[in-house]
């Protein structure tokens, strides 16, 4: 059963009482909330996600609630609870839904260590994944949103999860986080895309989340071979340019964008070596989304015999 099987009032009631067991990729989140805007956001953006049987195992237990303090009468707030504990400082109530999204990212990024985890958007086409690691402001999510509206499968907007055991990428398709000008750019680019309400004055500026394509959610169990590591950079007025990056340089930059590379130690080094060895690595500068789509459409995976790696201890 998907979230969409519940009416808005059923969903609201379920979230208020027993909570829902929401399946996102390979993770189950037990989610409770009394905040209407969060229930509405889930109804809108998580409609196509499966609900797991009540009382089953959950990886994360999350509750979005309103702190019971005097302030709630003047400037109401939202609080993110993980296993019943406060993790972050409360935010204005208006930011409750973005807070849920940020909190769910935190749940994964701080608890999942059977994977090498990279701060990156990931998309797939033809059975091969492109990882796009980049710091905030580089246009990573904007490019990701454009690609998934033009035939690429969304694997993740924030977290690339590389399974240490076999190097495959585990999908975690969740809503795409867009901010400031990017929101209207993608609205214009794909008028049929579904967005959450815009929330202004957050720590990231104005934010809104775009619903993940239903096909990406339905195929969330299909792990994928990575073929490309591409560092995107939006630059106003720039001609789209895909420039080959030496793999050793790419290694260091991906490691810099990883949440747990150091934590994994030698295992992390081996996983990263295999990832980079399997990938063609590029710097990508762009200003027009259509140009980017065209260049991504022409990407070809590395030929099987094109392997010149020297390594030991692997």
């Amino acid at each position: 059963m998907n979230v969409s099987a519940l009416t808005p009032s059923e969903l609201k009631l379920r979230l208020k009482t027993a909570g829902i067991y929401l399946q996102t990729g390979s993770f189950t989140t037990h989610l409770k909330t009394t905040i209407p805007s969060v229930a509405e956001g889930i109804g809108l953006l998580y409609a196509d996600y499966p609900l797991v049987e009540q009382d089953c195992f959950a990886d994360f237990h999350v509750n979005l609630t309103r702190p019971r303090n005097l302030r709630r009468w003047f400037k109401p707030q939202a609080l993110f609870l993980f296993d019943g504990n406060t993790i972050f400082k409360p935010l204005p109530l208006d930011q409750a839904f973005p807070m849920l999204e940020w909190g769910l990212n935190w749940c994964v990024s701080t608890h999942v260590n059977h994977c090498l985890m990279i701060h990156a958007a990931v998309v797939e086409k033809g059975g091969f994944a492109a990882i796009m690691p980049a710091p905030p402001g580089s246009g990573k999510s904007t490019l990701c949103a454009a690609l998934v509206n033009r035939g690429w499968r969304l694997l993740s907007d924030e977290l690339a999860l590389i399974r240490v055991s076999d190097g495959k990428l585990i999908p975690l398709p969740r809503p795409v986080s867009l901010k400031n000008e990017s929101i209207e750019i993608i609205r214009r680019y794909e008028p049929n895309a579904i967005f959450s309400r815009k929330v202004a004055d957050t720590i990231k500026g104005t934010v809104a989340h775009m619903k993940a394509p239903a096909d990406s959610i339905a195929r969330a169990a299909e792990a994928v071979q990575v073929a490309w590591v591409i560092f995107p950079k939006y630059q106003a007025g720039a001609t789209a340019c895909l420039e080959t990056l030496p793999q050793s340089r790419a290694f260091m930059r991906v490691a810099d964008n990883s949440f747990n590379y150091s934590l994994l130690g030698l295992q992390g080094f081996k996983a990263m070596t295999k990832l980079i060895d399997a990938s063609l690595c590029y710097d990508f500068t762009y200003s027009k989304l259509d140009d980017a789509i065209e260049i991504f459409g022409a990407l070809k995976p590395q030929a099987a015999n094109n392997n010149h790696m020297y390594a030991n201890e692997l």
Binding site: G265, L266, K270
Partner: protein, 93 residues
């Protein structure tokens, strides 16, 4: 006195060309992007400990330097050894 790998240094590395090498230091947990000369020092010392002169000669062969007595070459190797020492990859004993 000889240069040697820091005891228990596993020397895990990868490289896709001869110019740059990625080394993982299992003792510190750090990963280093090293140039070819530094990588050759580590690979040479993985085989055996060497004093500075023998190491310079061995590296001259590996790096195909034409004149092993060249002061500049020796100076660069000394500098490199000190840097690798600072990174905790090798030690002087």
């Amino acid at each position: 006195m000889e240069w040697r790998l820091t005891p228990s240094q596993a020397v895990s590395y990868c490289s896709w060309d001869d110019d740059e090498w990625v080394f993982y230091n299992n003792l510190s947990g750090d990963t280093h992007l090293l140039g070819s000369a530094a990588a050759q020092v580590l690979l040479e010392l993985r085989q055996s400990s060497l004093n500075a002169l023998h190491l310079t000669e061995a590296l001259a062969q590996r790096l195909q330097a034409e004149n092993v007595t060249d002061k500049e070459f020796s100076f660069q190797i000394d500098h490199l050894l000190n840097e690798l020492n600072t990174l905790g990859l090798i030690e002087f004993s």
